[in-house]
Each structure stands twice: as C-alpha cells, then as structure tokens.
C-alpha cells in the first residue's frame, strides 16, 4: 500500500470537496495564506508574525485563558446568528441584542441586592429574556408586517446602542465623573475564585503555584462553560426536538412548512427570540464575567458582526460555533500582539477572517482549482 503523490492529491480533493470540515479547514488555510501575502507585501516576515500570534495565544497560561475569555461572547453571538440561519433568518441584530443583554445585566446586577447564588441567575435570565424580546421584535415585524429582518435588526442595533448610552447618562446609574455605569454588586460577579484570589490564603497558594497564578490573573470566568453548554443545547433543540424540526422546516422551505400545518410566523418569532436570547447571554456573561459595567459607546463594538463570521465559518453548526469562536477569539487576541512586537498592522486579522469567509462563500473555486490539478495529474 504505497501512497503515491497522485493518490494523496485525490484524497485531498475528496476531503476538501465532499466533507464540510475539510472544506472549512482549507478555507482557513487559504485565509491565512492571504494574510501572509498582505504582510509580506508590506515588508513583514509573515512567519515571524504568525509565530508571534501563536506564541501570543499559547505560550503562557494567562494567554490561553485570555483567548478563552475573548472567544466566549463570539461563540454565543455565533450561535445566535447560526440559530436564526437555521430558520432561514439573517440575524444582523446580534450586535444590538448583545448590547441589550449587557445593559440589562448591568442594571439588574447593580440595582438588585440578592444573595450570591440567586443574584447571578437572576441577572443572566433577565438579560437573556430582554434580549430575546429585542430579537423577537424583529421576528414579529417580519411576521406581522413583512419588514425584512435585515433592515429591522440593523435599525434595532442603533436603537440599542443609543439606549445604552441613554441609560449610562441616567442619574443613579452613571458613575459620577465617568462615562460608565456603576459596577455590578459583588454578588453578581462570576469571575472564577474571585474572593479566594484576593484572600490571604489564596494569594499565598498562588504565589507557590505560578501556573495557576498566571492562569487566574485573567478575568477567567464560568462563561466559557456556559457557552459550551449552550452550544450543546442548541444542537439538541435543532436536531432532536419537535421544536427544532419545526424551525428547520420553516428555514428550509417555509411554503412546505406552512402546508404541513406549521405556523410559520410564530416560529419565526420564536427563532428570533432564541437567537436574541443567545446574543443577550453573550452580553450578560461579558458583564458578570469580565467588564462588570457598561461604558459609553460611539460605534458598534462588533460582537454581533463577528458572530456572523463565526456562524459562517462554522457552517451554522452549533458545535462548529465553539471551534470557530475559539479560532476567531484566538486570532483577535494573538493578532493584536504583532502591533507592539513588530509594528505590523494587527488589522491583518480582519483580512484573514474576511478571506476565510470569502473562500467559504465559494466552494466551487476550491473544487475547480483542485480538480484541474487532478486532471493534470491524471493525464501525465
């Protein structure tokens, strides 16, 4: 069983064209190549740059935990977009739903005074619910008035942004002298081992265990675990439940769904509610786990838009969103480091992500390139 070069090429062809994951991996590879070309054209050594990025992600425990922290909201906004995709809806509004989630989490986290074990769930559930309604509004407008969800969610994003800014300027919520809100109560804080880290005993122990100390130096929190659980839940709902059957039927062919007795309008609203809730969860986790407050924002922060890319790279699969979110989070976190280390523009990461999505949009191109090579190989 000798593997010739030709066989290998054929194997790659089959892998890249018949397996979604193979095609995704090749797209990611090509995206990195495009990024390298940009770096090289600008006079930077791409190998050095990617080396810095890799080390910036993996070389220290704290880097890894930062990557995970960065990836958490992206996994969830990715899930949000992917979920809506499955019902045939394009949720550009994850951005605004994220904002609503974070601002409601901050408000409930600051104003309510509850015991530890109750406070965090209350904060998260109220944020998810509010963001779900925010998403559901777009679904309702589509179902009831035929307003395209792309437009309504774009508008809702901006309304959410100004709503957050409005609240930040509200007396009692605005921290005096700053353009931020008050921070949430300690009972709503979800950072891992937060009190222990600052306690006498904790500091002592960490001093003796540098690995853990470095790992826990970061705002590492339970958010990532929740995101993974959500991905599993989304997968289960979509593929194993009657609700998921309904939603997918509407997404694939709403005319057939309607014919089969499925209420298309109701399911579009449900889908957008769940999608909104997922993006809102991202916002809430960001507040309880990382930022603990909301700040005045002048432009979109991009969690929702990045979520679109995550969903696309994941081919809208729930499990794929975890991996794509991690990839995206890692590239963003590690990529930022080429700026200080070699003065190379860190925006190359956007170029890489854009290229990956671009290649994902054209499966045919890769097929054509590979099959041409195959034919040439065959005629030799």
């Amino acid at each position: 069983m000798k593997l010739t070069f030709k066989d290998l090429r054929k194997k790659i062809y089959i892998f890249a064209t018949e397996k979604t994951i193979g095609f995704t991996l090749i797209s990611i590879f090509l995206g990195l190549v495009v990024g390298a070309i940009f770096l090289a054209a600008a006079g930077f050594n791409p190998f050095q740059a990617y080396g810095i990025i890799l080390r910036g992600i993996f070389s220290k425990p704290s880097y890894i935990s930062y990557t995970i922290v960065r990836a958490t909201p992206l996994i969830l906004t990715g899930l949000s977009v992917a979920f809506a995709f499955k019902t045939g809806l394009f949720n550009i509004g994850a951005e605004g739903q994220f904002i609503i989630g974070s601002v409601v989490a901050t408000a409930t986290g600051y104003f309510l005074h509850l015991p530890l074990l109750i406070h965090i769930p209350v904060v998260i559930i109220s944020a998810v619910f509010a963001a779900g309604i925010w998403g559901g509004i777009a679904g309702y407008f589509k179902a009831k008035f035929g307003v395209h969800e792309v437009i309504s969610t774009i508008m809702l994003n901006w309304i959410a942004l100004y709503f957050q800014n409005f609240l930040i300027y509200t007396e009692g919520f605005q921290k005096p002298g700053g353009e931020t809100s008050y921070s949430i109560q300690p009972t709503a804080n979800m950072m891992i081992l937060k009190t222990w880290k600052q306690s006498e005993a904790g500091r002592e122990w960490l001093l003796q265990h540098p690995f853990w100390k470095d790992l826990l130096r970061t705002p590492l929190n339970w958010g990532f675990l929740i995101a993974v659980l959500m991905a599993i839940l989304v997968w289960f709902i979509l593929n194993k439940t009657a609700l998921g059957y309904r939603l997918r039927a509407v997404g694939f062919n709403k005319f057939a769904a309607e014919y089969g007795g499925i209420n298309v309008n109701k399911n579009m609203i449900i889908s957008m509610f769940i999608a909104g809730g997922l993006a809102g969860l991202a916002g809430a986790l960001q507040v309880v786990g990382v930022s603990h407050k909301v700040t005045l924002i002048a432009a979109m922060e991009g969690y929702g838009f990045d979520g679109i890319a995550v969903a696309l790279i994941a081919n809208s699969s729930a499990m794929g969103c975890i991996l794509a979110g991690l990839l995206f989070g890692a590239l963003k976190y590690g990529g930022a480091k080429i700026q200080p280390f070699m003065q190379a523009p860190s925006e190359v990461i956007s170029i890489v992500i854009g290229s990956i999505v671009f290649f994902i949009s054209i499966p045919k191109l890769i097929k054509v390139i590979l099959s041409r090579k195959n034919k040439k190989g065959g005629s030799k």
Binding site: T241, A242, Y245, R246, R248, A256, G261
Partner: protein
Amino acid sequence: MGYENVTQSLTKVIEMKKITKKFGDFVANDSVNLDVFKGKVHALLGENGAGKSTLMNILYGLYSPTSGEILINGKKVDITNPNIAIEHGIGMVHQHFMLIKPFTVAQNIILGQEPTSKMSVLNMKKALKDVKEISERYGLYVDPNAKIEDISVGMQQRVEILKALYRGAEILILDEPTAVLTPQEIVELIQIIKNLTKEGKSIILISHKLKEITAAADFCLIIRRGKHIDTVVVSETNEEGLASKMVGREVSFSVAKDDKESGDEIFSIKDLIVKDNRDIIAVDKLNLSVKKGEILGLAGIDGNGQTELLEAITGLRKVESGEIKINGENITNNTPFQVISKKISHIPEDRQKRGLVMDFDISENTILENYYKYPFAKRGVLQYDNIRIYAKELIDKFDVRPKEESKMARTLSGGNQQKVIIAREVTNNPDLLIAAQPTRGLDVGAIEFVHKALIEQRDNDKAVFLISFELDEIMNVSDRIAVIYEGKIVGIVDAKDAEVEKLGLMMAGGGNE
C-alpha cells in the same frame, strides 16, 4: 411511401447528426439525429425526461453538445450561444415562457435587439411600430403596451412567437406549446402554425401529446430515454403506433376502473369567494360538493381560480365569504393545521415548493404533518428510530426509489418525490384527498401509479378531489367532472357522458350559460 422517399425532394434546413449530451454520468441525448425541412412541421415526441428539451437547447445554443454536429442550410455551424442560433434564423418558444413579467409586451419582444437612437437610448416609438407590423403580418394580435403579468397565457405565447419572428426566425422551435392552452386555443395555435409554414417557416414541435402531433406535424422523431428511436411520416401512422414507440410497449389509453356507487356527500363548498394575490376576486361564489367513494375532477384552464380555491380549502389563503364544510363541520378560514386535523389531505400543485422540504431526507419528509405526535416524538423529543421504521414501511409500500430513507428529497426523481408525497398523504388516511396536478412532469409509469393510488382511495370509500389542466386525465380518472371558468363552476357532468368538445367549450367560458 416511407420517410426517405417523402423527404427526398424537400430542402433540408437543419441537420443534427449524432448529437450526444451528458450531464456528468447522466446521458440526456445519445446519438440523436434530426432533419428539419423548409416549410414543414417536424415533431419531436417523447415522454417527460426523454431528452427532447435538451436536444432543442443544444440547437438553440443554451447547452453545448458533448459530441455530434449541426448543419444549417448544408453548412456546419458551431452554436455556442443563443446569439449564434438567432443569427442562423432559429427561434425558440420555451415551455416555461421566457418572459420578463414586469416588462411590457413590446419591451419583451425587443429585448436584446432594441431599436435605439443616439447613445443607446431606447427608441420605444420604433419598437411599437415594429411590433405592430409583424403582429399584423402574421395575424398574431397583442397589446404592445400591456404588461406580461396582466395578460393571459395564450397571449403570452403569442408574445413568445412574436419574439422569435422579430428576430427574423426562419425555424421556430415550439416546446410543449399546448400544455397551458384551452382546446380552442390549441386549434388556433395549429392554425398559426399552418400560416407560418405557408410563409416558408419551418417548425419543430416538441410534444408528448399524440393528438396535436397527428393534427399539426408532417414528420415525427421519437426519442426514448435520450435514445433515437425512429423518424416517421405522420400521415402514414396513427396515435397507437406513435405511443408504443414513445413508451416502448403497448399502452392502453384508458384507466382501469370498476364502476362504483358513490355514497353520502362528505365535503361541500357554498358561495365561496376568494381573492388572489393582486386582491382581485379569483373564486367567485363557487359551489361544489364531493361524495364518499367518488373522484370529482375539476377541469379548467390554468389561472381560472383553481390555485386560490385549493389554498382556500387547505387554509393557506383567506376566504372572503362563503362556507367550506367537511363531515358537517365548518372549516372556513381554519389554519392549515386545523384543516389537516379534520382529515383532509392534499397533494399540492407544486411538489417542490409546497410538498417537500427538499433539504430534509425522505424519513423527515414522511412525518411533515405528524412530527410532534407519538410515536414520532415523545415529550417534544423526536424518536428517530420510530421515524425511520415508519419511513421504511412507506418506501416499501409505495415503491419509492432508491430504497433509502436517509436520502435527501432533493436527490430523488420527480416521480419518486411525488410517491413520497402520496405515501405520506394517503397514509394519513384522509376522508378527503385533494390531488392537484398530481402527474405533472411525470413519465407514463409514474402517471399510472398515481392514478391507481387515487382510484384505490375511491374504492376504499374515500372522497377524492382531483384538479388537473390535462383534460384527458380528468376524463379518464374522474367519476364526475366539474368545469371551472373565471372562478365559477360552469357545469358538472357525469364522466361517462362527457365529451371533449363540450368540456372544452365550457372551459373557455362558452356552453351552458
């Protein structure tokens, strides 16, 4: 006399030699030969999917042949795009009209060869004049300023023919031109064809209907599953001879069906008014009823309110006024979900749009109306084992191929897609089965299967409501025939007493009024 002898003295305008066309592994045309003679009508006969349209799309430059050659007026030509075909005087009227709906008649006719003044600015005055001129010359009257979406199907066909003539077509390909016409309109079309050949035009007539071939064509090429079967002189053969060549075996035209007493009235419609998408009344005070153990056929030309009627019954469209009842229960303006629960099943008009979720596999499609019920779901969780077992049963019973329940609906042939739908709907054991255009686009074998399934329902004392634009199908399968015209039932006759001419007249609005 034989084909060779008859054609000896004629001028060949087109020779297609040994044309083969493959789509991947699928051979759509396998070494097919076709000659067309000046001033003659050459028919192209074959079942759905036999490769007729493919052959014509090659001649028209839409597809390029895998092998073979084409000669026009004795010269070898390479038709790589429609422009070249048009230059060589070939015009094509497609089965699915190639008209831009929001454009006017004139805009559609000139598109691609627009008269312009300076700077490519459209000269609509000249366009209107040109259109008027040719339409008068060939007696094809149309309103050049009307929008396509506002004119009848028969008119649209005239626009298509004018489009070809505007481009100076000498050879006209008509792809299934009568599929959407009334019997009277068909007569008119045949007259138009005769006028055109008198002017020296050659016609290629694609059809699977034997009647119109014997009525209009001089010669006939028969193809079966992409293969060249024979070319015959039409006047030297008959319908049976053509049919057996087309199908490859003897065919009986009638459908085997025992006499049966029908039972009580089970389904009724009273004074129903329904509007179409443009808010115009499409179903106009319609009255109808179906009895147990009978097949009621609804004959009519496309666009006379059938679609709206169907959608109103099944809850997909709002009823303005009137009453729909099944088993004595009023179901007017019920949701589709409620309609299904009242034991009405529905084989939809457009199987790919309504009938199937193409990206679901067969098993998921078999539970479209029942996915939430036990044994397919338990406490909201799908029971895939049970779903698969159920799908397998249906696949076996209704002979769906391939016999794999995990195949995507998209990958099935039209006939097998229809079998999945019929399996699902019949297994729901409905009191009333509505079948809309159930055999459209299917080959003879599948058509027989569908008809048998409908008759079996009837024999089991169920009510069947069949809607079809194919008058032959209505006459062969139904027990009673209702004719719809402009949203009204204009007559109901017993199938045994039905005559084509009378029905045709009613379908065109004449008759009993």
